[in-house]
Amino acid sequence: MKNQNLYNYILTIADNSLILAQRLGELCGHGPNLETDIALTNISLDLLGQTRSYYQYAAKISGEDKTEDDIAFLRIEREYKNCLLVEQPNTHFGYVIGRQFLFDVYHFMLMEKLQNSKDETLTAIAKKSIKEVSYHKRFSSDWIKRLGDGTEESNVKMQEAIDDLWRYTDELFLMTEAEKIMVKEGIGIDVSSFKEKYYEEVAEVLKDATLNVPENKYFTKGGKEGVHTEHMGYILADLQYMQRTYPNMTW
């Protein structure tokens, strides 16, 4: 493939949206009330829409006879480039919110920068996405505050989730080979450039929510290089079920 680096770069961003949308899709109908059900479905739908735009673009530049669905459904686990954070399970609502919040703050900063990419298609996707992501961030930050500063029980649960998910945050700022090359070409974003700002913003919201900023400095990484947690295989088993069972059909 001629544009292998760009292709990989697109997937590095898109796979996060796909896998998080998939995780949120599991919750539909099972949330704490109808309003949160509807809001989380909205977020899932936004992320899916973004995923499709990225994959359609990736399919186009692949120069092969690929579709968005081939990219979404027909890779092996090692080829998915999403970060470990988004594949973490819906252990309880605190984890759903914690995962969303820790991702949204990052996602927003990434989209902010991607709007100025030299690649026009990515710029267009980022401009559309940033409006959605800013809503996601407001939703998840508000819930972090509600749960952190709600009841004693909710504070404990929210803290538990943040503590557990914290070790997946550092990976967001690691740069893969494809990313580094794309940065050099003015297409990709140097994610490490907003790492500090990320942790500041996260800390501010957590403090507002009367939550502790974890001091843990031991991080887990690998997702961006295709080395996932044990959860990923099960996510893909569901995601790919139809396409693997009934190959080469139109749905």
Binding site: C28, G29, H30, F93, G150, Y246, M249
Partner: protein
Amino acid sequence: MSEKNIKNLEEIFEARIARDEKIEPKDWMPEKYRQTHIRQISQHAHSEIIGMLPEGNWITRAPSLRRKAALLAKVQDEAGHGLYLYSACETLGISRDELYEQLHSGKAKYSSIFNYPTITWADMGAIGWLVDGAAIINQVPLCNTSFGPYARAMVRVCKEESFHQRQGFEIMLTLCRGSEEQKAMAQDALNRWWWPSLMMLGPTDAESVHTEQSMKWKLKRKSNDELRQQFIDQTVPQADLLGITVPDPDLKWNEETGHYDFGEIDWDEFWQVVKGHGPCNKERMNARVNAWNNGEWVRDAAMAYAEKNANKKVAKAS
């Protein structure tokens, strides 16, 4: 209030309905009207949210990104329908929590159709096509029902349901134009959903209670059997178009009546499911009760947080 006065009020009330005026929540209404509406509207609301479960079951496994997004959006619409209907019901002086309590304790009913399992992707097509289709037939007349908030909710709901129905039919059409396996999947789904869909339109007129009063209040305009006939007459040609067979050997066009004749419905099965012994009654209830119980700490936190913030604002203002 004397009995004579109440009688008078009732006469005025019935006359308003007869004149096609809408009854609004603040208007005087007979207690029986209120109770009947709470029962029917909440039953409808419960059906919407229980109805999210069988389709929600396929969101993570939808076969394409486009189908996944459409299914998510559909299930979200159903949540929205639940929301409007609970709100309409609340105007009658009952809280959402009380309504949930009735659902979770088994006191309130919901549409039995959702107690059937969704075991293949084709079920997403069959549900949209048949179940949303039958729902529309049930609900379109309610757009003119006498209770204002219910009638207005129904106008919005029906618009979305007809979109769901077209989407379901389109899933079926894609399957029927696809491979042999896909077509077999579509046929199998029709086989399993046909009879339960007919049952969705309610027991036969001979066995149906409440009908006369409901007709007067415009909660019902046609009898269950009339609605069922309308559904069959509308749906059979669509099955023909798809090229799949309705699983009823007695189904036959009747030149004389201008309707389809159809075979005997297994009412024993219907009552078995209504009484709680269908294939998924337990699973559906457990899912709702678990969601509610697991969400309690979240709702409590939201309430506590809102109170704290309201207090802070008061403190600032004073």
